[in-house]
Amino acid sequence: MNRTIAPPFKLAESLSLVIPQEIKLENDITLFWMKDVKDDSVKLDIEWFAGTKYQEQKLAASFTNKLLLLSETQKIARAIAAEMDFYGGFVQDDCDKDHAGVTLYGLRENFHAFFKF
């Protein structure tokens, strides 16, 4: 065997991507559902057209986005964090020039609880 010679290789001829199903909700929100992911996890991304290019004051976009999970009319930050943690959920917020949004990660068995938020 001559180890100086590389084995032959070939590039991929096609790629199969997971294509989301697009569902229009009654209130006009578009839901993209990646239903072909087969495990016990659920990831929910909520995106708004609320990035920094829409802000009139510096930091307004990111502060607003962060405040989304700090309190709401029924619950204070501590209660939201406690419930989110209890169900094993994780939260991430993102803000760029175009979009602002939050991502919730959790298990399929507990995810119904996250929709309350």
């Binding site: 065997m1 180890r3 100086t4 590389a6 084995p7 290789f9 070939k10 590039l11 991929a12 790629l15 199969s16 087969k38 495990d39 016990d40 996890s41 930050a77 501590r78 964090a81 406690a82 989110m84 943690d85 209890f86 169900y87 094993g88 959920g89 994780f90 990660y105 959790g106 298990l107 507990n110």
Partner: protein, 412 residues
């Protein structure tokens, strides 16, 4: 559940195959049974330097990265105090490229003076950039020798001092390679949409003729139990005061590892955790705070570290952390709090195992630890932990004589 099939080549190389039909990519992971714990105290940083040298060309192949990238692949590696791990990801139809490359560098490195010189410079720069010139970069260079007085865990993977890397000779490097980089001192795991027959065929073809060099028979003396509280205060050019409180605990293979992990989650995982809720949100003493375990294979650490807010003294910080640890020693843990951290762990595990790479690495680590039969038992091990178990753990571990504290004071 992570499935696998296992076989061993005549030269002692352990090979495991994990099938995944859902991805067009394959992963080849080779875990070598050598880490910074195997170094001599006068020549530290070698395991990590060696990780770099492994990308500097092998006996028959001048460059590791280019052929892999041509085949659509990428690679990386990491070293810690216990092991050194190399991994390649590439399209499954090009799996043989990874076998060709990995087997040639296991057979023999090129050992060129140029490669040694280049990688020595790279590692020295890494030492300066990440450990000496970065705020809080030298924390573990200071904390490790405070905790460990005789065990090799007293130095970090990067090494004790730059001179050890500067003085590395070609003879040192060759001797390290032939001592630790043999097939019988490694575990290879292949994951992807192929068959165990194909993996066997490729393993025999490319790794079968590499001679055995002997498995690493380490006989390290355990660090004696700590008998007194230790403290060190240093002043550094950092943005805020920081504290690191480290308690010795059991190693990765002990049940204590799992109890300690849950205890650390109760203290600091998520915004409803005890330290975050009490010391950041309510009392506003810290800007960051976390609790975590080291998971060392020889000896474990339970660490609480945090950055103090302006005007908060180290004395207050220590007292407040101790108060929270004391509650864990005395109070019953509410069932909901225990369910919460178990749920958090489960979510993290499910997401982590989405990645083929993580599954493959887990198989390699469990095989190397000699615990492969327990690979899929992790959830059960966390599930059975009770409030009493955590209280017993806290009573045993959170005691003064088992504590080493480093305080990094910000220069005014």
């Amino acid at each position: 559940m992570i499935t696998y099939e296992r076989f061993t080549l005549k030269n002692g190389l352990r090979v495991l195959f994990h099938k995944d039909e859902t991805t067009p990519l394959a992963v080849v992971n080779i875990l070598y049974n050598v880490g910074a714990r195997d170094e001599e105290s006068s020549r530290t940083g070698f395991a990590h330097l060696f990780e770099h040298l492994m990308f500097g060309g092998s006996k028959n192949i001048e460059n590791f990265d280019n052929p892999l990238q041509l085949a659509g692949g990428e690679c990386n590696a990491f070293t810690n105090n216990d092991i050194t791990n190399y991994y390649d990801t590439l399209p499954v139809q090009n799996l043989e490229t990874a076998f060709w490359l990995e087997s040639d560098r296991m057979l023999e490195l090129a050992f060129t003076p140029k490669s040694l010189e280049v990688q020595r410079s790279v590692v020295i720069e890494e030492f300066k950039q990440r450990y000496l010139n970065q705020p809080y970069g030298d924390v573990w260079l200071l904390l490790r020798p405070l905790i460990y007085k005789s065990h090799p865990y007293q130095w970090a993977t990067i090494g004790k001092e730059i001179s050890h890397i500067e003085n590395a000779t070609m003879e040192d490097v060759k001797s390290f390679f032939f001592k630790y980089y043999g097939p019988d001192n490694a575990v290879m795991v292949v994951g992807g949409n192929t068959t165990v027959e194909e993996v066997k065929k490729l393993s025999e073809k490319w790794f079968g003729d590499i001679p055995s060099r002997g498995a690493n028979q380490r006989n390290l003396t355990p660090e004696p139990a700590q008998q007194e509280e230790r403290e060190l205060t240093v002043e550094r050019d950092v943005p805020s005061d920081a504290i690191y409180m480290a308690f010795r605990m059991g190693h990765r293979m002990m049940p204590e590892h799992y109890t300690g992990d849950l205890a650390s989650d109760i203290l600091s995982r998520g915004k409803s955790s005890r330290l975050y809720d009490k010391l950041i949100s309510e009392k506003k003493l810290f800007s960051t705070i976390s609790a975590y375990i080291s998971g060392g294979w020889e000896d474990g650490l339970f660490v609480v570290s945090g950055n103090l807010n302006e005007g908060v003294s180290f004395e207050t910080a220590k007292t407040e952390i101790r108060n929270e640890l004391e509650k864990m020693r005395v109070d019953h843990i509410d069932n909901d709090e225990l369910i919460k951290v178990k749920n958090k762990f489960k979510t993290g595990k499910v997401f982590s195992e989405q990645s083929l790479m993580n599954r493959v690495m887990n198989i390699a680590f469990f095989e190397m630890m000699g615990k492969l039969d327990e690979l899929n038992d992790e959830l059960k091990k966390y599930d059975v932990i009770s409030s009493d178990d955590i209280r017993d753990f806290a009573k045993k571990i959170f005691v003064k004589n088992n504590l080493s504290t480093l305080m990094v004071k910000a220069k005014k």
